[in-house]
């Protein structure tokens, strides 16, 4: 009898590799890997904001750009596939200048106070966010608190599209939010800007899971921050399994003072790819 093709699961199957040069050093990555993968393999810390390992790159933020020999423009490393023989520079003046500009623009127009990783890059690249303040517009509107599960703080939104994609065709297929407006009026919005409970939102919280700036955050976190009691450095993170249906989603329980304060899921786990449903994300409050 003809055997079916089970190649997908033959242990030890290896993909072919491609070879590139990163800052003068030869690096190999599996075929299909990106320039960012090559940089990471070489041990280079590349700033990324709109990129997430569980989403398809959308090339919105341009902070991860590198120089690739033979390319006229800078290349977004998160989405560009690595090709054999590529010569990549990650720390040229042109790259540093471009990254600095991106970080300055974002830091000027939005509140990055709860995005420590981005602040660190800003320092590293010498971003001066005071340069454009005079006459520069910033978003300034009240935090949207419409239920007890999560809040939206548009002052912090960098319009990276991650939440839109996680809500839509990258994971949840709910399409409750999309980009609306133009210029400084550009916002992530529900349909006709209705409140979340009136929208198509199913409260999976996968938008919170991918938000890089805390523009979307658990109500529990928001309340603790308001009270001045959010102490991330004292928190523990424990990996366990959700208590509801039989899918077996991995949860990371963030605990402060013996209380769960928020829940995430590891992006590299093949069951969830970092995404949860409303019960897994918020249903722990009885503990």
């Amino acid at each position: 009898m003809t055997q079916p093709n089970n190649d997908k699961v033959v242990p030890g199957t290896t993909l072919s590799e491609v070879s590139v040069r990163v800052d003068g050093t030869d690096v190999t990555v599996p075929e299909g890997g990106t320039v960012l993968d090559a940089c990471t393999a070489h041990g280079v810390d590349t700033p990324t904001i709109c990129y997430a390992e569980n989403l398809t790159p959308v090339n919105a933020c341009r902070v991860c750009v590198v120089e690739v020999e033979g390319n006229r423009t800078l290349v977004p490393s998160c989405s560009r596939p690595a090709e054999d023989g590529m010569v990549i520079s990650t720390d040229s003046e042109r790259v540093r200048h471009s990254r600095r500009m991106v970080l300055e623009f974002l830091g000027t127009s939005t509140d990055l106070s709860e995005a420590p990783q981005i602040n660190e890059w800003s320092k590293q690249y010498g971003a001066d966010t005071s340069r454009y303040v005079e006459g520069g517009e910033t978003i300034s509107e009240p935090v949207k608190v419409q239920d007890n599960l999560y809040i939206r703080d548009y002052d912090k939104c960098v319009l990276c599209y991650k939440c839109v994609d996680a809500c839509g065709e990258e994971a949840q297929f709910t399409f409750a939010i999309a980009m609306s407006g133009r210029g400084m009026g550009n916002r992530i919005s529900t349909e006709f800007d209705v409140t979340l409970p009136d929208s198509a939102c199913v409260y999976c919280g996968n938008c919170i899971g991918v938000c890089p700036t805390n523009a979307l955050q658990f109500k529990t976190e928001f309340d603790l921050r308001q009270a001045g009691e959010w102490r991330e450095d004292e928190q523990t993170v424990t990996r366990t399994v959700c208590s509801y249906c039989g899918v077996g989603c991995n949860l990371e329980l963030h605990v402060q003072d013996n209380q769960i304060v928020k829940v995430t899921s590891p992006a590299d786990h093949e069951v969830t790819h970092g995404h949860l449903c409303v019960k897994g994300r918020f249903g722990w409050q009885y503990v």
Binding site: M1, T2, P4, N5, N6, D7, K8, V9, P11, Q146, D147, N148, L149, E169, A171, Q172, F173, L196, P197, C201, V202, Y203, C204, T236, T238, R239, T240, V241, C242, S243, Y244, C245, G246, V247, G248, C249, N250, L251, L253, V255, N258, Q259, I260, H269, E270, V271, T272, H273, H275, L276, C277, V278, K279, G280, F282, G283, W284, Q285, Y286, V287
Partner: protein
């Protein structure tokens, strides 16, 4: 199925599938993260047929929704099988090599013509024909189901009827294809795997097999009762006869969850002794003589749980349990110790308290399915799928690859099963003319003891979903409170107009027993082979309340 109780495929396989039959499952709400994998499959071009009496949120993602009459699944599966056979779309090489009983099966499904099947099931003949042809012709195809298949008094027949379709077409035992029952609780798979079945020891070994049992007796250092015990439904019957007088209930709330709940509560209340071990003071716990407070298994305790794809994963304590709550195995060990028995043995710490990892290692020494799953590997590899017989084994993404081996892996061929349409135990009558079926909604869970703990903005309480035309013919308006009765009981609740519910059908969840005690209505007619009650098919009537009470 075919000798092992587990879904045959992995979640990631469905991302590459060609055809999906989602049959009696609203996975979009009941298994949302599995549905993410399924959506990737659809996004990659798969075709989905959704068989469900309701036009569920899952079915809205399907290419075709087959709105089957409740309880006619065997007829539909047999009709699909006959069509596959008559269209010459069977996988004859697979049938000849890997199965037995085909000729008898072929004869048995012969009466299920498209016309007759359409008449029994209410599904148009064209849709049945299309599903049969597309499923049979696929390269990789899966059948997925949940309680829409198993909460019937002919539950096992339903499952066997679906298995027949996979045997006809060879859609099992290879990457991408399979038969997948999605599990409803986070460790219902693990419970069965660990021998929490009346006739099984861990790893699906038989309690009445001297060799199997002997292995356990040698390690446990004691003789084990070789007689299979009772499953839950038989236990309740034994309570009714006064033969079963004591019950020890762990992490279950039967005083809210059983069908024909008034009857079940009376039986529980009549026990000489009822012990409940739980993290909540459930309605069952309120009936108990003794309540042992347990720590929360997934957030306060070390241990393992097993998912629908047979993946064993570690749970870890993140917070300290409150008050006197203790680890489940701690309570069991202490209870045994007070009765003069040490059940911990070498698996304890210096004080004799059981250590979960050591208990697991003992289990690995006794269950070949789990032998290769050390805690270290489970931690490092994000869980492992059984069978995993040794430390070098990578685990098994799919089951029954042996069906495709030249010597069938030394086993016998897989049998076709002859099953016939019976239909619901409770027919619709003039007195009870409407069908009631129950199920889950996205943000809530079972009897609500866990999901009641958070404030969901998309929770609208309990209501009886009804087709607006049916409601209007009864003179009922949307949101009206009514009296709903079955032959077993009566409850008051609101109705909700729901155009996705076909005429003649009503639906409600069972998540809010304190608001609506819906299991007063459900039918406890049960399947002799599985013990499961027919939650999915009760007959009811709706009566208007006196004007003052109806708003």
């Amino acid at each position: 199925m075919f000798g092992a109780g587990g879904g045959t495929a992995s979640y990631r396989e469905i991302e590459e599938v060609d055809v999906v039959l989602l049959w009696g499952s609203n996975a979009r709400e009941a298994h949302p993260i599995f549905f993410h994998h399924l959506m990737k499959g659809l996004d990659n071009g798969a075709t989905m047929y959704c068989v469900d009496p309701r036009r569920t949120s899952s079915s809205k993602f399907a290419d075709v929704w087959l709105g089957i009459d409740v309880g006619t699944d065997v007829a539909l599966a047999n009709g699909v099988a006959r069509e596959i056979i008559h269209a010459g779309l069977v996988n004859q090489a697979f049938i000849d090599h890997s199965t037995t009983g085909y000729d008898e099966f072929k004869d048995a499904v012969e009466p299920y013509t498209l016309e007759r099947t359409a008449e029994i099931t209410g599904v148009p003949a064209d849709a049945i024909r299309e599903m049969a042809h597309v499923y049979a012709a696929a390269d990789k195809a899966q059948i997925l189901w949940t309680l829409g298949i198993t909460e019937h008094h002919h539950a096992v027949d339903n499952v066997l009827a679906l298995c027949n379709l996979a045997l006809l077409t060879g859609h099992v035992g290879h990457w991408g294809s399979g038969l997948v029952p999605l599990r409803g609780q986070n460790n219902v798979q693990g419970g069965g795997d660990m021998g929490a079945l009346p006739n099984k020891l861990p790893g699906f070994q038989d309690i009445d097999d001297d060799d199997d049992r002997g292995k356990f007796e040698a390690v446990y250092g004691t003789a084990l009762n070789p007689t299979p015990g009772l499953h839950l439904t038989l236990m309740f019957e034994a309570m009714g006869r006064g033969e079963l007088t004591a019950a020890y209930v762990l992490g279950e709330n039967p005083a809210d969850s059983e069908a024909d709940i008034q009857h079940a509560r009376k039986l529980l209340a009549g026990l000489d002794t009822l012990i409940v071990q739980d993290i909540f003071m459930t309605r069952t716990a309120e009936l108990a003589d003794v309540v042992f407070p347990a720590s929360v298994a997934w957030a306060e305790s070390d241990g393992t749980v097993t998912s629908s794809e047979r993946r064993v994963q570690l749970t870890r304590p993140a917070v300290a349990p409150p008050g006197e709550a203790r680890h489940d195995v701690d309570i069991l060990a202490e209870l045994a110790r007070r009765m003069g028995v040490d059940i911990v043995g070498d698996c304890g710490d210096e004080c004799g308290a059981p250590i979960p990892e050591k208990l697991w290692d003992e289990l690995r020494s006794l269950s070949p399915l789990h032998a290769g799953m050390s805690y270290a590997r489970l931690e490092a590899e994000g869980g492992l799928q059984w069978p995993c017989p040794d430390l070098d084994h990578p685990g098994s993404p799919f089951l029954h690859g042996w069906l495709w081996e030249d010597d069938l892996g030394g086993r016998g061929p897989a049998p076709f099963s002859v099953v016939d349409h019976i239909g619901p135990a409770e027919a619709l009558t003039e007195q009870f003319p409407l069908r009631l079926t129950t199920g889950r909604s996205l943000d809530s869970y079972n009897t609500g003891v866990q999901s009641g703990g958070y404030d969901s903005p998309i929770r609208y309480g309990e209501a009886l979903d009804i087709n607006p035309a049916d409601a209007r013919s009864l003179g009922i308006v949307d949101g009206e409170r009514v009296k709903v009765s079955s032959p077993r009981g009566t409850v008051e609740m609101s109705v909700r107009f729901q155009p996705d519910i076909p005429a003649g059908l009503t639906f409600t969840t069972f998540h809010f027993p304190d608001l609506v005690d819906i299991n007063q209505l459900t039918n406890d007619a049960w399947d002799r082979k599985s013990g499961t009650s027919e939650f999915k098919a009760a007959s009811i009537r709706i009566d208007k309340l006196p004007a003052a009470a109806a708003t």
